[in-house]
């Protein structure tokens, strides 16, 4: 657990902090995710993806649940995360993150904004449409296009 913590705690904490904006709450999410993994290491199926992306998605989902003051809605068992190319090593991960940040930087602002509201604020497409005054279909399209743009940037 110490090895895991030293390697991934910064990632989990950063994700949770970005969503929650509160250090104490982010630390609680960090603790909760690691404890779930400790109690049940079989939750993570290594044949279906790498640990880092999986942990990142679990931490984000738990943070959103915490933000919305709701009981955890996603069964960890159900979460399968596939990232291509493989990001097992620190170097690959670092390169991929550079590409992601670059893609975010060049993304049209409305698209990036819709994506970040959905992802980091946990807003539904309906809530985003109401908040921005944009049509619902436009928001859906922007969210999907934003995610695909990240994938394309990493593969390139």
């Amino acid at each position: 657990m110490e090895v895991l913590y030293d390697r991934y705690s910064s990632l989990l904490y950063s994700v949770a902090l970005r969503v929650l904006g509160d250090t104490g709450a982010a630390e609680d999410v960090l603790q909760e995710v690691f404890m779930q993994l400790w109690r049940n290491p079989g939750l993570f199926d290594s044949s279906r993806g790498n640990l880092a992306p999986w942990l990142a998605v679990i931490a984000r989902n738990r943070a959103i649940d915490s933000l919305r003051k709701r009981y955890p809605e996603t069964d960890i068992d159900d979460v399968i995360v596939s990232v291509e190319p493989d990001m097992a090593g620190d170097a690959e991960r670092s390169r991929a993150m550079e590409k992601v940040r670059e893609a975010l930087g060049t993304m049209p602002l409305p698209q990036r904004s819709a994506l970040e509201m959905a992802y980091f604020e946990g807003l539904t497409h309906t809530e985003i449409a109401a908040k921005t005054g944009e049509p619902l279909g436009t928001i859906k399209t922007r969210i999907r296009a934003g995610l695909l743009a990240l994938r394309k940037a990493v593969v390139a």
Partner: protein, 256 residues
């Protein structure tokens, strides 16, 4: 890979956890039968992970590490609900594999124990049913066997209505008694059936009380096998029964 276009945007929303209501139900139903869309959902979650990982940079507070390790030390690992089944593409720490193997062993042991329990329960049930079947076969034989001795008992004092009939299989000591129109009993009293052998004292053959319609049965009372019955009789006895008949005999019948 070909994702169904009508679900393309909903897949992204589902990955984010924001799809609800009928749209969610429709997509979940579709996912059960569409491997391509399931794969796309995994990839979209991967895209989400990229977004999450782009936030790296903040270190947790120093006390978070000892807090976690302390919690880990205080809490033993429990049984896993699911187990990794295939070799990973990444070389994860060996303790993970060890833990998974331990979990598999515990699960198999538990499953084995449960199966043993189920087998024992089924054996008990089988034995019970076998005994019940044997008992039923014995009763049918007592009723239908050619050598079954049938005796009709009538009221001793010219009262035709009360009637009792015994079916007695001497070699097995098996007896079935059916009565009808039996008069009501005094308080704290019961009828007792007696087997009157060709020699020796009457043998108690069951205590009974008729129901509201005057009917009663005695099935397979404890009797010694091989006793030849000269007659059957009924007396009124205390509710617990007697070892010798109390006079008078209220019903009596001899072999037909």
């Amino acid at each position: 890979m070909s994702v169904h276009e009508q679900f393309a945007e909903d897949l992204a929303l589902h990955a984010l956890g924001s799809l609800q209501g009928n749209e969610l139900v429709a997509l979940e139903t579709h996912l059960q039968s569409c491997a391509d869309c399931r794969r796309e959902l995994e990839l979209l979650r991967g895209d989400m992970a990229l977004l999450a990982m782009s936030t790296t940079g903040s270190a947790p507070p120093r006390h978070a590490r000892p807090r976690l390790l302390d919690a880990v030390a205080r809490e033993p690992r429990q049984i896993a609900a699911s187990v990794p089944s295939r070799r990973g593409r990444w070389g994860f720490a060996p303790w993970f594999a060890t833990a998974a193997a331990a979990v598999i062993i515990v699960l198999l042991l538990r499953q084995n124990s449960e199966l043993q329990g189920s087998i024992a329960a089924l054996n008990t049930l089988f034995t019970d049913q076998k005994l019940q079947l044997q008992r039923a076969e014995d009763m049918v034989e007592t009723l239908t066997a050619a050598e079954s001795q049938q005796v009709t008992l009538v009221a001793a004092k010219n009262t035709p209505q009360p009637q009792g009939k015994t079916f007695y299989l001497r070699n097995k000591g098996s007896l079935i008694f059916l009565a009808s129109n039996m008069p009501d009993l005094p308080l704290q009293k019961a009828y007792e059936l007696w087997l009157i052998p060709t020699s020796g004292a009457p043998i108690p053959a069951g205590v009974f009380k008729p129901n509201a319609r005057g009917s009663a049965t005695v099935i397979d009372p404890p009797l010694p096998a091989g006793v030849e019955a000269k007659a059957f009789a009924i007396t009124i006895e205390p509710e617990a029964g007697s070892t010798t008949p109390t006079m008078p005999i209220v019903m009596l019948g001899s072999g037909e």
